[in-house]
């Protein structure tokens, strides 16, 4: 498994070379890697389905007890198959979609890096390894959403996604660390064996809240749902892969992974059912508000994520069965539909449903794939989506006290889903050609219709023949979530005239009605209100908050960074005075040395010279005089070093003093002369601070002298500097050898400071930008728009 994950990352690194060699056909070559991994994983299915999870451990950082461990059970197998299987189709699709983009190489690096991260995430056994991959998916998706980096809206969407999912990731990390406190292990496989114990642990609520925060943000649950539709600013293959089939499911995945450890409590059930159910109904209806194919699909994605979260909250055997079934159902149809939307955009120049129609003749293969997937989304038999919907209703019906609200919410959401499924799948292909296309509609290349067709065909196959996967893969996934074996998953197209089927009929009736009246409903006043409040609203609030944060930090910065040097000096020295002085008063006893050694006359003279030069600097009427006076003081100090046998220090001080004198003179010549006098109050204030600091330092020196001298370190250095470091000059030996790493740090800081000056000097003087209220999210620019740029 390590090989599989690393293989994807290596492929990512090599992708630009492949693209250079093969150009627009590179997708076929690059797709072989995920395909190979898919085949390898699929070959493990029988073993895993037999209830024998595979664990693989590699040493990574033994010092931190951090192994690279992977765990393949039914749950991770299911997700890994989705990641690699759909990933293969997406990789192939991308080279067709971005065939004319010069940056296809860069795109593949990011896409494959994401795939590697996602694969690592679902396979990880160690919670820290899991977290690393979790954050990697946030980072790579940030790059992918912002792929059209010259578009302001792309960058804004990318930032939104990064902050929301990255922030949630941090909560997740905290939750996982607490989970380790509660269970004593970082390995998921070992935690799962402890199911039932964590729920009693005093940390349980904190763990749950943090993990759920991570999962909800990643899986775009209300009120964090806004980043996902905004993320449609990325290229379509990204939307198809990350924002429907894989990454957004990472949140659901972690809830499923930790299901045995965290579920079963009231807070678990009500939070997940409440948040998931609300998100499901809300975003299902929001989908009907929009006319951009990608936007519609994005909102139906959050609807499904809500549904999956809700089912995990219910947590019964039926609910988990519905959850794993719907995961597959959704991945198949949503991946296909996004690719179809991209193909339509690619070949006609628009994605607006209202402008599309009559493409059945021009794009037959795309239509076939699109229709199959859309009907699966609408839950029409005999497609897999129908079974998905039936088992969901069954789970709702068997959910005890919750069953009535669940059923109502399910029917409401699914009816909207039927409506938007039909809108997406039928409108573009049937009816009259609208003729507003910027280009002659024509069929997409093979690479672009292959994906929807394969996924659509799979939806049909699994619908007609659910025995292909129900006993093996789906059952194993269910066992993986619950960690115990219940009655095996059995799916069938026909369940008889049971209540679930009745609910389906109601759903169809409502859904078809919605489809028939869609043009009116879409632009009706209630829908517009819904769109403003819940569609654009949260995103706009988020942008406002972000802008407010930037403004507040700017205000704080302005408060402290006045740009006046005298203020900085005053702040530094007065805080030293208060903090150090306060510490001495409260925490130390003031001692004074009983005797001082006698001083030679030239030492006294030198000290006097330093004092006089300081006084002269204060009284100087011109800057030049003040600088010269200060330099005299500096050279005096250097002489003092020399007298007290610190030649290295003295030399450095001389050199620094000379250099700074030269530099100051260069600059000072150009400054206006000192004029006027400071107000008396400020002079008194400054005098207090400076005299206070001087007294404080004198006091500290005295206290240091009064301490018994500890010579161990000096003696050690004196003894070992030649024997170990071959140098007689202890100071230099310390600098380059004994404490070399300090010097390393210092010169690194020096480099940073120099670069800082360099950058500052090159920066134009600018004002911070004003708040730009984006007009809601703007999905990916259509192909036509991109070409006019």
């Amino acid at each position: 498994m390590l090989l599989a994950v690393l293989g994807v990352f290596v492929t990512a690194a090599l992708a630009p070379l492949v693209v250079r060699a093969l150009g627009r056909h590179s997708g076929w070559a690059l797709g072989l890697v995920p395909l190979g991994i898919f085949a390898y994983l699929a070959a493990q299915t029988p073993e895993v389905a037999h209830g024998e999870p595979i664990r693989e451990v590699h040493n990574w950082m033994p010092a931190y007890d951090l192994p690279l461990s992977f765990y393949l059970d039914g749950l991770s197998l299911l997700f890994a198959l989705l990641v690699t299987g759909i990933g293969t189709l997406i990789v192939i699709y991308s080279s067709g979609y971005l065939a004319h983009n010069d940056e296809l190489g860069r795109f593949y690096v990011q896409l494959l890096a994401f795939m590697g991260a996602m694969l690592g995430l679902v396979l990880a056994d160690n919670a820290i390894v899991f977290f690393i991959f979790f954050e990697l998916t946030s980072l790579t998706s940030y790059l992918l959403i912002g792929f059209y980096r010259k578009e302001e809206s792309s960058r804004q969407a990318a930032r939104k996604a990064l902050i929301v999912t990255g922030g949630g990731g941090l909560a997740m990390l905290a939750g996982l660390l607490l989970l380790q406190q509660a269970t004593g292990t970082f390995e998921f496989s070992k935690m799962l064996a402890l199911s039932g114990q964590v729920q009693q642990h005093p940390l349980y609520t904190a763990i749950f809240v943090l993990v759920a925060a991570g999962a909800f943000t990643k899986s775009a649950q209300f009120p964090f749902h806004f980043w996902l539709p905004a993320a449609m600013a990325g290229p379509t293959p990204v939307s198809a892969y990350l924002h429907s089939a894989t990454m957004v499911k990472a949140g659901v995945f972690v809830l499923a992974r930790l299901h045995p450890v965290l579920s079963g409590t009231q807070v678990w059930t009500y939070t997940l059912v409440g948040v998931g159910g609300f998100t499901m109904v809300l975003t299902a209806w929001l989908a009907l508000r929009y006319t951009d194919l990608k936007q519609i699909l994005a909102y139906t994605t959050t609807m499904v994520l809500g549904l999956l979260t809700m089912l995990l909250g219910v947590g019964t055997g039926d609910a988990i069965k519905a959850m794993v079934t719907f995961t597959v159902v959704h991945a198949l149809y949503k991946g296909g539909l996004f690719m179809m939307a991209g193909s339509i955009d690619h070949e006609t120049g628009t994605r607006n449903v209202k402008e599309l129609g009559g493409l059945r003749g021009a794009m037959p293969y795309t239509m076939a794939g699109g229709l199959l997937t859309a009907l699966s989304m609408a839950g029409i038999p005999p497609l897999f989506g129908f079974i998905g919907k039936e088992v969901t209703y069954e789970a709702a019906l068997h959910a005890g006290a919750l069953s009535i609200p669940l059923l109502v919410a399910g029917v409401l959401a699914n009816a909207a889903l039927v409506g938007s499924g039909l809108v997406v799948g039928i409108k573009p292909f049937f009816g009259d050609m609208k003729g507003a296309f910027t280009r002659e509609p024509h069929e997409a290349p093979v690479s672009m219709w292959l994906g929807p067709l394969v996924l659509g065909a799979l939806g049909l196959a699994f619908g007609a023949m659910p025995w292909l996967i129900d006993h093996s893969l789906l059952n194993a996934a269910k066992v993986g979530i619950l960690q115990r074996t219940l009655e095996p998953v059995h799916l069938a197209l026909w369940h008889g005239f049971n209540p679930a089927f009745m609910a389906s009929l109601v759903t169809f009736a409502l859904g078809f009605a919605l489809y028939a009246t869609w043009t009116t409903v879409q632009d009706s006043a209630p829908m517009r209100g819904l769109g403003t409040v819940f569609g654009q609203g949260p995103g706009a609030v988020f942008e406002r908050l972000l802008y407010g944060l930037a403004r507040a930090s700017e205000e704080i910065t302005r408060l402290f960074q006045t740009g006046q040097f005298r203020w900085y000096l005053f702040a530094i020295f007065s805080s030293i005075f208060v903090l150090v002085g306060g510490a001495i008063l409260t925490e130390a006893t003031v001692r004074w040395p009983s005797t001082f050694g006698s001083a030679e006359y030239y030492e006294v003279g030198l000290a006097g010279l330093i004092v006089i030069s300081a006084l002269f600097a204060i009284r100087a009427r011109e800057r030049f005089q003040a600088i010269l006076a200060l330099s005299v003081g500096g050279y005096g100090v250097a002489l003092l070093y020399l007298l007290f046998s610190a030649p290295d220090l003295a030399m450095t001080q001389f050199a620094i003093e000379t250099l700074s004198l030269i530099l100051l003179v260069i600059v000072l010549i150009h400054l206006p002369g000192l004029s006027g006098t400071e107000p008396l109050g400020r002079r008194i204030r400054d005098a207090i601070v400076s005299v206070g600091c001087g007294a404080l330092v004198t006091l500290l020196m005295g206290m240091a002298l009064a301490m018994p001298m500890d010579l161990r370190v000096s003696e050690y250095l004196a003894e070992n500097s030649y024997t170990q470091a071959q140098g007689h000059n202890i100071v230099n030996v310390i600098l380059v050898d004994f404490r070399g790493i300090d010097t390393m740090g210092e010169i690194t800081v020096l480099v940073m400071a120099a670069l800082g000056v360099y950058v500052l000097m090159r920066m134009p003087r600018t004002e911070p930008p004003a708040f730009q209220s984006s007009d809601g999210e703007r999905p990916e620019p259509t192909v036509a728009e991109r070409e006019t740029v």
Partner: protein, 145 residues
């Protein structure tokens, strides 16, 4: 540029002496007062003097490399000296010593610490000059009057 004949003639004499002195400081540092830091300050002063006497453009030309490059090379020398020890299987930054006998000159002690100190010198020179040069770039005429 100061139009002082004395200053310019003196600079012409001083700069090479200062540079040799800087190298001298660097080399003797391990066993006598000196070292890369002070050597770097001396060398940096030499170039600043030159910039004052002949102008920043001429000083850049004499320096031949950008100060930024010096910073990079300096850091690379210091980290490289540390990594040499790692490659030799010791802890990062452990001093390595080689004793080379060169005819006529006598025994030579060569240590990885010397490379480290050269790195310090280059960083210090680079820092001083980058600051001076970029101030001049921002406010032309400040150094180059």
């Amino acid at each position: 540029m100061f139009f002082s004949l004395i200053f310019r003639v003196a600079t012409r004499l001083l700069v090479p002496i200062l540079l040799i002195f800087a190298i001298f400081m660097l080399l003797r540092g391990h066993s006598h007062p000196g070292g890369g830091f002070v050597g770097g300050l001396v060398a940096g002063s030499a170039f600043v003097l030159y910039a004052l006497a002949a102008g920043v453009d001429d000083a850049r030309e004499v320096l031949r490399v950008e100060p930024r490059t010096l910073l990079g090379i300096g850091l690379a020398c210091a980290y490289g000296a540390g990594m040499m020890a790692v490659l030799a299987g010791k802890n990062f930054l452990t001093g390595l010593w080689a004793h080379v006998h060169i005819p006529l000159l006598g025994d030579l002690h060569l240590g990885s610490t010397l490379l480290f100190d050269i790195g310090v010198l280059l960083v210090v020179v680079g820092t001083v000059l980058l600051m001076v040069f970029s101030v001049e770039d921002r406010l032309p005429g400040l150094v180059d009057e």
